[in-house]
């Protein structure tokens, strides 16, 4: 009789740690209260930089392994210097990444070994909104389309279910489809 050992990792995910995290949060729900934050500074024109270094979670302030930087700019056709992606493209990146990060974890839990996961996210936007040239056009995307290509050691239906579960448990997908309250305050000194 042969035995099949459960691997410590699948798809790069430490499976025991994933289940331990779930158990820890079940035992202590307040550990699940997180606060993420970014600090942005204007550089010039439409060019600016976000720095990401700490977050709150598991009951304490946490520090990332490094201070991450995400810059943004407008392209030349939108009066920028094209030094970095546009904020709109950064938003689409957040969506692609949230779905893909979730998919990696979900596949590991379902014992599916992934070969490759690729996706393309497109968003349609009529810039007459943000340019203030039409009161009938919204400022943001009118529609976003996500196309996944997933390969792994499971039948197509199971691979498609991974994407569906990633959608059903995505923080970014939820916020983009349902909206979120945003407060804005300003200091001038």
């Amino acid at each position: 009789m042969s035995t099949v050992a459960t691997p410590a990792r699948r798809n790069g995910v430490e499976i025991a740690k994933l289940f331990a995290t779930l158990d820890a949060v079940k035992a202590q729900p307040e550990a699940a209260r997180f606060r993420f934050s970014v600090d942005n500074r204007w550089i010039s024109g439409t060019h600016n930089q976000n720095r990401i270094s700490t977050f709150y979670g598991v009951g304490a302030e946490q520090r990332h392994s490094a201070t991450f930087s995400i810059e943004a700019d407008h392209p030349a056709v939108l009066v920028g210097e094209d030094a970095a992606p546009t904020p709109a493209e950064i938003l689409l990146s957040a969506l692609a990444s949230c779905l893909t990060s979730g998919l990696g974890n979900i596949a590991a839990v379902r014992k599916i070994t992934l070969t490759s996961v690729e996706s393309r996210v497109e968003g349609d936007i009529d810039l007459r909104g943000i340019l203030g040239l039409s009161g009938e056009v919204r400022n943001g995307f009118s529609q976003i389309r996500v196309s996944f290509r997933v390969r792994g050691d499971a039948p197509p239906a199971k691979l498609r279910e991974l994407v569906q579960q990633a959608v059903d448990r995505s923080a970014v997908y939820d916020v983009l489809t349902h909206g979120v309250p945003i407060s804005v305050d300003v200091a001038t000194s």
Copy 2:
């Protein structure tokens, strides 16, 4: 009698080009139809990479000055390798950047010279949603807070109005507060 020349740039914004862009879009509204996109590939676990290289606008496919990359990962406490910011933090970056890019342009049009613009964006999230541990908790942020500090050669009320106008004309703020339809399709071969 002294004359005050209009500068070619204010806050790093080419003012004549900004007005020329507005005139061009007024004359040809279809030039304002843009499509932004990102291509994401899974690396391992929760780690993945977005590449941003082209977009459609002004009636043609456009190429950025470079292929930009935005990576994402989960931190160690969320079973990742902490190789990059989380998708949630990338989303907050998109919001901070969109408001700040807009503010740079708006200040230039209003002849306000900015000294500095800093902002912090925070988002509260209860991870029991995405972990599937509570049916009463949403997946995404429950609230986002934006705090700006703006300095420039205008009275505080005028500086606060810049932020308000940036909010009123922000693509990302609109999508995050009002939501957007998202379609998802999956290929498995």
